[in-house]
């Protein structure tokens, strides 16, 4: 976590675009983190006094353990005493005479003894998915006038394909840190580190620090992996402004306020090599972001989440198709999410409505010609689970581009006076919470020629039971 270099006072891009609040949080967080991680290092037996202290500490631990065991013994005795109060009500053996249909009974068995070599293995979970895509236009020629995109941000190939497969290894490292590594394999078999980060678990005052490669916490969907998206693909503005999602190498600090309602603030700095940034090779962190999250329950049935985020990126000779861009990009996102489930019980029926507004300001040199653009975009989507296992979804996304100076007219920055938009419908069937099958239809008017697209997808997740994000 060599973040010291980022704090150099002469690095102007840092101070210009990141509010002092974020710096203060990060500095405070790092200082506190230093204290937390310094504690165990002191345990080196320097002299007899420390040894004595350690022995005392050990003794304390054992005494605590023994008193806990005593408590358990007493509790067990109390249980037996209660059970014996009425002799006529002796327990009937479990699963006595139950008839099991097409099923193997779960007989009580001694807990499996784990080989000690595997006892500390990290949790391993695997995501697999497969796709079928049919579309009316050639995906290799697809583009959105006014919104140059990176090469890997384009639509998927037509026909049958194995989607991106993911393997995640996660565990606590020690009492102070946890870590997770997600390696993803694309259909052709090349592997990449999608996320790989360490995160604090022991900081005081509601602070959490994260370092490594991870998805930025801006917006609502950016932090989610593909298998947690509500639709097969990302909404139009995410694709146009972030090339899908923004994940990069950096440091994040989050602070959860001790308020009776949910209020979280955070800031991030990143290397800055990912779209819409690019070409980072300086000491400084080229990308900075801040985000604020809030939300609460409305009643037993419904709740909401709101967020404001801002991300600033710098590009140095960034290539998109045949064009180069050097300059600054500032993107703001406003997010609103509403969830409904009757009685707060989402198992049978539930509804999620979400929408985000994007405001993007870009200025710099596009193919060495001065360019300054104000662009916006938004999407709104709803997914309704109308009965156990079945959901329907509807999404609408739109972009509003800009017309650059006359020297750049007809270039990739020129929106040609068009307003790109797309509408998407989804039907989903889940065999369990670990597997789903989707069919999705999109009508897309982002390119000069409209595109109709039909997709099928399965996604399965296996391994330890993961907890779900809001």
């Amino acid at each position: 976590m060599s973040v010291g270099t980022h704090a150099e006072p002469n690095e102007q891009s840092m101070t210009r675009s990141r509010p002092p609040f974020g710096i203060a949080l990060m500095a405070a967080g790092l200082a506190l983190y230093g204290q937390a991680s310094a504690a165990p290092a002191k345990a080196a037996p320097a002299d007899f006094a420390t040894l004595q202290q350690q022995i005392n500490a050990l003794r304390g631990e054992y005494e605590a353990k023994i008193s806990e065991l005593e408590a358990r013994l007493k509790a067990a005795e109390a249980e037996v005493a209660a059970a014996q109060q009425d002799q006529t009500l002796a327990p009937v053996p479990e699963a006595n005479g139950e008839i099991i249909l097409a099923d193997t009974a779960s007989e009580p068995a001694p807990a499996a003894v784990m080989p000690s070599q595997n006892a500390m293995n990290p949790g391993v979970s695997v995501v697999l998915n497969g796709n079928y895509v049919a579309r009316s236009t050639d995906p290799s020629l697809a583009r959105i006038p006014g919104f140059p995109m990176p090469d890997d941000g384009g639509p998927e190939h037509r026909g049958l394909s194995l989607g991106e497969s993911e393997v995640t290894l996660g565990a606590n490292v020690d009492p102070y840190l946890s870590a997770a590594l997600t390696v993803s394999f694309d259909g052709s078999g090349s592997a990449s580190v999608e996320e790989g980060f360490i995160q604090t678990t022991d900081l005081p005052a509601g602070l959490t620090l994260k370092a490594g490669r991870f998805y930025s916490a801006i917006g609502y969907l950016n932090e989610r992996h593909g298998h947690n998206w509500s639709f097969i693909d990302m909404p139009l503005p995410y694709r146009a402004f972030l090339g899908g999602q923004y994940g990069d190498d950096g440091v994040q600090v989050r602070w959860l306020a001790p308020t009776p309602f949910f209020l979280e603030a955070g800031a991030e700095i990143f290397r800055g090599d990912r779209f819409p940034g690019g070409g980072a090779d300086k000491n400084r962190a080229e990308t900075q972001s801040v985000f604020f999250h809030t939300g609460s329950d409305i009643n037993d049935n419904s709740s909401w989440l709101g967020a404001l985020s801002y991300i600033h990126t710098v590009a140095h000779d960034r290539m998109t198709a045949m064009d180069t861009f050097s300059g600054d990009n500032g993107l703001g996102l406003a997010t609103l999410v509403y969830k409904w489930a009757p009685g707060g019980n989402p198992a049978q029926r539930n509804l999620t409505l979400s929408g985000e507004y994007f405001f993007d300001r870009q200025s710099g040199d596009f193919n060495s010609l001065s360019a300054s653009l104000n662009r916006t975009g938004w999407y709104a989507q709803g997914v309704y689970q109308f009965t156990n296992r079945w959901s329907l979804g509807l999404r609408y996304g739109a972009l509003s581009g800009d017309r650059p100076a006359r020297t750049l007219s007809r270039s990739a920055l020129d929106d040609l006076g068009r307003n790109p938009r797309a509408i998407t419908g989804l039907l989903e069937y889940d065999t369990s919470e670990f597997a789903r099958f989707r069919v999705q239809f999109s009508h897309d008017e982002t390119d000069l020629k409209a595109n109709d697209e039909l997709r099928f997808q399965y996604t399965v997740v296996y391994g330890p039971h993961g907890a779900h994000r809001y």
Binding site: P91, V92, E98, D297, D300, G344, A467
Partner: protein, 301 residues
Amino acid sequence: MIKPTLGALAAAFVAAVAGPAAALQVFACEPEWGALAREIGGDKVSVYVATTGVQDPHLIQARPSLISKARTADVTVCTGAELEIGWLPMIVSQSANKKIMPGARGVFQPTDFVHLLETPASLDRSQGDIHAGGNPHIQSDPRNMIPVGKAMADRFAELDPTNAGVYHARYTTFLGNWQAALKRWQAEAAPLRGIPVAVQHRNWIYLETWLGLRRVIALEPKPGVPASSGYLAQVLEVLKKTPVRMIIRAAYEDDRPSTFVGGRAGVPAVMLPYTIGGTDQAKDLYSLYDDTLSRMLKALK
């Protein structure tokens, strides 16, 4: 230089929004543990209950409100044995509260203090929604409140030594009242002993053990796997040969499978509160079992 300012700011903020607080802030995942925490803690604890009696504790959304409540908790009282695995870890990790992180003393799991039944011999998702540690629905046997209450008093005393005497004294009072209630319930429940029953989901093993019920069949092929109509037809065949006296289900569950089978087989489908708030009558720990027994006894007539 920045740290003290931030700390002072945060402290002022806490004081402004939190006001005078009880000694222990308890985050209880389910209503029964919230109620037990109040029995043990009295006015020394402030209890937030994360779910209602009509919510399925397996499937809760990790809502912002839950994260903010977990942020200020001194102790979580959550069933454990993987019952809350789909949502609680997300809330705990987002709460950034070291007091309730895994392994901390602020994590109190009632299932750690009770012998769990139905521990699976093998673990595989093809078995459905099974829990590695055993069946977590321990609150359906009121006798389990005794070891859990004892361990809870000890844990509260450890976390809040100033009030240790209060917690232990309140536990002793509770134990006396509870043993009297157990005696009464066990007398009332005598007619239920040995009766054959069907269950909608296998969340009643501890009730079955307490009352000596004989479970003939479950209305789901595997735990957490909803029954198809074909499976329910097979169940009806079984019930023709091996009749049951009632089909029981929890208040939070879909009523259709048990009313369908009950209607066809001519057997009463009985909705039980499962926890406090599951029915209007189940208002506290005592009335939870009063209502459970009265509903079953009524179905027996």
